[in-house]
């Protein structure tokens, strides 16, 4: 492998990894605070993307407005899910919260396939134009947008978690929910806030990454699996870990796919088993265990 190819593969891997990071950060934000693994993250984004598609192509709404609406739609979905579904079940059993997100994921997939049919559609990119050449590296414009969006999202999440009162409350709930309630933290409203933010990221992420693929009801499936892999690698419970894990998975996957194309897709399983065997706490996780 020459240096040029290596550089190209690495940078392109970073842009793929940014996709996983964007999805993974939303999942991990919800996971960390509410202790729910949101399997509907990808599919709620997919459904929003369908709505956005028809707004752009049929109703000719400007792209930037659609982007904002998509983020808002994600937030609204998150609020509804937390307020009307999660809250009433939370006290019952933990497993049922996860099953709810699975049901939601099926619901979104079914709705998208039923209302909009399953044939793949091409989604227009946010920025179009010739790829940009930086030295030997060739990059698509949309890829750069995705990479930047991942960085900006990470920054916003960092500011939220570490520089606001609500963020501190969210982090304290993730450490000990009971103690947080004893200290007067309004856990229901923090849960709603976290679900809104996490779910809003689903809308943003799906809309930004769909031009790389094609819009169909199942397009988020594999991406979500990779995002989960990134979360395990990053240590289940830190937004930073999910972001870095996503980037690493993207780069390594790209390199592996070039050298050993046969194991491209089963590569995630290998990563997960090795991570679990060698360093189960992940790259940035703490050693403590949480109850499932």
């Amino acid at each position: 492998m020459s240096v040029d190819i290596f550089l190209n593969l690495t940078i392109r891997g970073l842009t793929t990894g940014a996709v996983y990071a964007l999805v993974g950060m939303g999942i991990v934000l919800i996971l960390q605070t509410t202790n729910v693994m949101n399997f509907a993250q990808g599919d709620s984004g997919m459904f929003i993307t369908y709505l956005a598609f028809f707004m752009i192509t049929t109703a000719k709404v400007p792209y930037s407005l659609v982007l904002i609406l998509a983020i808002l739609a994600g937030a609204v979905i998150g609020l509804i899910v937390e307020r009307f579904m999660m809250r009433s079940v939370r006290s019952r059993s933990h497993l049922s919260l996860i099953m709810l997100t699975l049901g939601l994921s099926l619901l979104f997939q079914g709705l998208a396939a039923f209302l909009f049919k399953t044939e793949p559609r091409l989604f227009p990119p946010l920025v179009s134009g010739d790829p940009i050449k930086i030295g030997p590296v060739v990059l698509g414009r949309q890829d750069i947008v995705v990479l930047l969006a991942a960085i900006v999202t990470f920054g916003i999440l960092y500011l939220f978690l570490y520089r606001t009162k609500q963020g501190a409350a969210a982090r304290s709930i993730s450490q000990d929910e009971y103690a947080a309630r004893v200290l007067g933290i309004p856990t229901p409203s923090i849960y709603m806030l976290v679900w809104a933010i996490g779910s809003a990221m689903a809308g943003l992420a799906a809309l930004l990454i769909v031009p790389r693929f094609s819009l169909e009801p199942s397009f988020m499936g594999l991406i979500q699996v990779k995002a989960f892999t990134a979360i395990v690698l990053g240590g289940m419970g830190s937004v930073f870990g999910a972001a870095v894990g996503g980037l690493i998975i993207g780069v390594v996957e790209n390199l592996v796919a070039y050298q050993f194309p046969a194991i491209k897709d089963s590569f995630m399983l290998i990563v997960i088993v090795i991570v679990l065997l060698v360093m189960p706490q992940g790259l940035f996780g703490k050693r403590s265990q949480r109850r499932f």
């Binding site: 579904m85 049901g103 099926l106 997939q109 709705l111 679990l276 265990q289 109850r291």
Partner: protein
């Protein structure tokens, strides 16, 4: 015999008679029996998942992978190596169990999220590995798998398979029920309810989790092996993540943590799209999603809760 016991006996025996008579009722439409056969195979796999999730509290998102492993092992042994079909099915079950051990060992010592993600990766990787192997027919799938035969008796008709599968469903369900009533079964449920308490009482938490996981994988392998000889066609894409989620949905809709839940869920899952009709195919996915949400929020024991309510109403 008290009146209520008598009534229960009557209801149970009429249900059993109905189940036995179904092939005669639908003699002119064997396709319905065919769908029921598939539902029973799904019910077997779902029972494993139910044992794992409903009684063990462990989430598996790659259960279809174990079905694929069992099915492909059995089919390849019969087709390429001319192994006796019964032995091939046993080998399929064993191979699925070994894979369960390999996947379960690293992930079960950690919190449940890890198992969910590890099985999810297994679910999407196994299909891919099978696609690239030569012996499994690769991307073309494995075609012309011989149909099921027991001893010298070939089960060619749907009705004959129906009775055999019904027998296997009963055996598997009884095995799971008896396992749960045994000392180990109580330990498994104790681990689900509180790991810490169970450990404090001297239950080896990791070992029981592993036993449950391997048991569930074996049941899925059995279902996969039977599936291969019923459908006569295997394709890796049929056993991907989507199918794992479907199995999970069946067990949730049927009722997690109930013995009869899996068969109710599987029949509902297989029959609903047929009732709705082919043109509205995806409407059934919407209904499935809504039923999962509805059963989690309003009927925690799914369809089997309805059965329990009817039983109470009839004072059985």
């Amino acid at each position: 015999m008290t009146p209520s016991r008598l009534r229960r006996l009557m209801v149970n025996s009429s249900i059993a008679a109905l189940v036995l008579l179904l092939p005669l009722v639908f003699r002119t439409r064997p396709s319905i029996i065919g769908y029921l056969n598939i539902a029973m195979l799904y019910a077997i796999a779902t029972q494993g998942l139910n044992l794992l999730m409903g009684f063990g509290g462990l989430v598996s998102l790659g259960h279809a992978a174990f079905m694929a492993i069992g099915g492909y092992t059995a089919a390849v042994l019969v087709m390429t190596y001319n192994v006796n079909m019964f032995l091939a099915i046993v080998a399929g079950v064993a191979t699925a169990g070994v894979f369960g051990l390999v996947i379960g060992f690293p992930s079960l010592r950690l919190s449940g999220f890890y198992l969910a993600v590890a099985t999810m990766a297994l679910g999407s990787s196994v299909a891919d590995v099978i696609k690239r192997l030569e012996i499994t027919g690769g991307d073309y799938g494995l075609i012309n798998i011989p149909s099921l035969r027991l001893g010298g008796w070939e089960l060619a008709s749907e009705a004959s398979r129906y009775y055999v599968f019904a027998g296997i469903v009963v055996v598997v369900f009884l095995a799971v029920r008896n396992f749960l009533r045994s000392r180990s079964g109580r330990a498994v449920r104790a681990v689900r309810d509180s790991e810490m308490t169970a450990a404090a009482m001297g239950v080896n938490v990791a070992a029981y989790k592993l036993v449950t996981f391997v048991f569930a994988a074996c049941i899925a392998g059995l279902s996969g092996a039977l599936y291969a000889f019923t459908i006569s066609y295997l394709h890796p894409m049929n056993f991907g993540l989507v199918f794992s989620i479907e199995l999970l949905s069946m067990s949730i809709i049927g009722g997690l943590g109930t013995i009869i839940g899996p068969i109710l869920g599987a029949v509902f899952w297989v029959m609903l799209p047929i009732v709705i009709g082919g043109r509205m195919e995806y409407l059934s996915t919407v209904i499935f999603g809504l039923s999962i949400i509805g059963s989690v929020m309003f009927l925690p024991k799914g369809l089997s809760e309805l059965v329990t309510r009817i039983q109470t109403r009839l004072k059985l």
